[in-house]
């Protein structure tokens, strides 16, 4: 009863369940908690509502779409005839009189999906699943709708679009779906704002997984040097680390597979002198050069256009070089170990 009372709030201002969020932000997330990271959620067809073959194939395809495009440690889905989670196809959908399909999520263990049958009458007309009806204009793509439902199961609420819906492609999990042949009616991968919400909720899939461009995750890059006081002609090794500095699960993650450069201060500013190479340690980058003169150095991560990660530069460090040459010393030469 204590738990019951705890989850029932008598009169609070409506919160995240229906509050709109800015477009191009990550999808809102549903209340009700999360499944375990990378959990495999198995499902089966219900005996009283087994989908026709082409619908089964569409739902399985959506399962694969979700697994391949989640780019996060959100659960994956798989079919197992003995699973406790269920997928139903038929007329008796419990979630209201509207909608094409609906879900029920019972973290940390259970979910269910319900799909209305081909031929269901709505105010606007007759539901045609593209996969079951020869794909006429006006049909709904079942694979797209199933991907939307799998997204709900994971935790995603409906994306908030711009008023002109110009950002519709940013999410599959939409307030209302499109029919053939409208753009994105058959989107089969999570949109970038679906992915952003999954990454926030569950963390990125691996340290080399790119952050969604739907948000901008702060980063922190550091730089260390093997010896900050050397004689001219000595080899100096620079080691940088790159980590995320976002909120929650996106904080302090090593970021591998990115481009981190070593820069040297000149009279006109900073100049790239070396691209540091990734090491076997996640988020670590390293390179060496032969020092000929005293310079300031820093490492720099430039937020790339294909990732929602912000640019960051390390504090400068000075490598002091004691002169051993006479006259004009040669320029620093660079080599990478």
């Amino acid at each position: 009863m204590k738990r019951l009372l705890a989850i029932l709030l008598a009169v609070l201002v409506l919160g995240t369940a229906s509050a709109p969020t800015l477009a191009h932000g990550p999808d809102p997330i549903l209340t009700g908690g999360l499944f375990a990271q990378n959990k495999v959620l198995q499902y089966r067809w219900t005996s009283s509502g087994t989908p026709p073959l082409d619908m089964k194939l569409a739902i399985h395809a959506a399962r694969d779409d979700s697994n391949a495009s989640r780019k996060s440690k959100s659960p994956s889905f798989d079919y197992d005839g003995g699973a406790s989670n269920v997928v139903y196809y038929g007329a008796d959908v419990p979630c209201g009189t509207n909608g094409l399909a609906c879900f029920r999520r019972d973290t940390p263990d259970w979910f269910g999906l319900w799909f209305r049958p081909n031929g269901t009458r709505f105010d606007w007309g007759t539901l045609r699943w593209c996969e079951l009806s020869g794909a006429p204009d006006g049909c709904y793509d079942a694979e797209n709708i199933a991907l939307d439902e799998f997204g709900h199961v994971l935790v995603l609420a409906h994306h908030a679009n711009f008023s002109d819906a110009s950002d519709y492609r940013d999410a599959v999990v939409q307030t209302f779906s499109r029919t053939k042949p409208r753009a994105a009616y058959n989107a089969h991968v999570f949109g970038r704002c679906d992915v952003a919400a999954l990454q926030q909720a569950y963390d990125i899939l691996t340290y080399s997984t790119l952050h969604s461009t739907c948000f901008d995750v702060p980063t922190v890059v550091t730089l260390a040097v093997s010896d900050s006081s050397v004689s001219s002609g000595s080899m100096v090794t620079f080691t940088a680390t790159l980590t995320s500095a976002g909120d929650g699960r996106l904080s302090n993650n090593p970021m591998s597979g990115r481009t981190v450069v070593l820069q040297q201060r000149t009279s006109t500013g900073w100049t790239d002198v070396l691209t540091l190479a990734g090491t076997s340690t996640a988020g670590q980058y390293r390179g060496s050069l032969t020092a000929r003169a005293t310079h300031d150095y820093r490492s720099l991560f430039r937020g790339p256009s294909n990732e929602g990660a912000e640019t960051d530069g390390s504090p400068a460090i000075t490598v002091f070089v004691s002169s051993t040459c006479t006259g004009t010393c040669p320029q620093s030469s660079v080599s990478v170990r």
Partner: protein, 358 residues
């Protein structure tokens, strides 16, 4: 630590009932216990007292081998007794019962026909025969008329809400159809409900968001609410009670008043139904709770194991005779004459409905 779980996978048979009552255990074919029935027309009124038998109904979809909805099966009966089944086309509905009569709408592709099925007398009376598609309808509280929602047969444009006298006569439009709104998308369903003050709640839902007009039947004057999710009912002080628009469960139950922000009554709820000012909802596996939508007072229901709230409204899939302020519940996976339960006003223990109906 107690986890909040709506359904426990380890015991699926016992818990499937929690998923949505009728959803998972529904055979699509007629059963021997529900023989097909073609009730005759009711004879003209004789002036004798009307026979009112407490009744129930359930509407099941029938899906053919291609996965296409081929029709519905309406099963009706007296409370406590098995039912008889009537086949209906894919575009059909049923509501009630009101005074022992179930309102049935069926569209054959060219006409929509509304009939009142008198369960006690075992006969039917045609109420309306329309060229437009009647999507759903309700009997008025005084049983003198029906209100129906129509769409254009060709364009499916919303033609508004109409009042049709039960004894025959011309239909009059109560309120025009609602204008399209890109924020909601195409209208999937329009649900009708009576408010305690006699106004009609007309809820037009897009794929996930709904907007409601609370309409004075006599004047057509409307008060608008939205957006919400599917609506549960209207309180005695005129507030709308609805889901938050989650597209699934669990979902918040909110209270909306015109011109004000929604407030959350329940943060996480499963299936829910409303009677009077009380909302009965699934609060966890095998647990039902009731909240007073005026005061926020919350109680857990006793002896609720295996019970599921039954949704109301003009698209309700099942119904049963009961007092107006009694919430409808079902024991097990499907509503029939023996599985009906009700929660009387002010009670926290569900009961059989026989002693409560008029």
């Amino acid at each position: 630590m107690e986890s909040v779980r709506w359904i426990r996978g380890a015991v699926p048979v016992a818990t499937l009932a929690l998923i949505g009552a009728a959803a998972l255990a529904r055979p699509s074919l007629l059963e021997a216990a529900d023989p097909p029935w073609d009730p005759p027309s009711c004879p003209a009124a004789t002036g004798a007292p009307a026979i009112v038998v407490p009744a129930w109904y359930r509407l099941d979809g029938v899906v053919d081998e291609t996965g296409t909805l081929s029709g519905h099966r309406l099963t009706v009966g007296a409370l406590g007794e098995p039912g008889r089944a009537i086949p209906l086309p894919p575009e059909s509905f049923a509501t009630g019962p009101v005074e022992g009569r179930v309102l049935v709408g069926a569209d054959d592709g060219s006409r929509s026909r509304l009939e009142l099925l008198n369960v006690g007398r075992g006969c039917r009376t045609v109420v309306a025969d329309e060229a437009a598609v009647v999507r759903s309808a309700l009997v008025t509280p005084d049983a003198a008329a029906v209100v129906e929602h129509r769409v254009d047969r060709t364009s499916r444009a919303d033609l508004g809400i109409w009042r049709v006298p039960a004894a025959g006569g011309p239909a009059t439009r109560i309120v025009a159809g609602i204008a399209p709104d890109a924020r909601y998308g195409p209208t999937f369903s329009t649900e009708l409900r009576w408010a305690p003050d006699g106004r009609l709640a007309v809820t037009a839902c897009g794929e996930s968001r709904c907007r409601t007009r609370l309409v004075a039947v006599a004047s057509g004057r409307a008060t608008a609410f939205g957006p919400t999710g599917p609506v549960l009912g209207v309180t005695s002080d005129g507030a709308l009670i609805a889901n938050a628009g989650c597209g699934g469960f669990p979902c918040a139950i909110v209270r909306r008043e015109p011109g004000r922000d929604a407030v959350v009554l329940v943060e996480r709820a499963g299936l829910a139904t409303m009677a009077g000012d009380r909302v009965v909802f699934e609060a966890g596996p095998g647990r039902l709770a009731v909240i007073d939508a005026l005061t926020g007072s919350l109680s857990r229901l006793d002896e609720a194991d295996g019970l599921t709230p039954v949704a109301t409204g003009s698209h309700a899939r099942a119904g049963a005779s009961r007092a107006d302020d009694a919430a409808l519940l079902v024991l097990g996976s499907r509503l029939d004459g023996r599985s009906v339960r009700v929660l009387p006003a002010d009670a926290v223990t569900p009961t059989r409905p026989t002693e409560l109906v008029r």
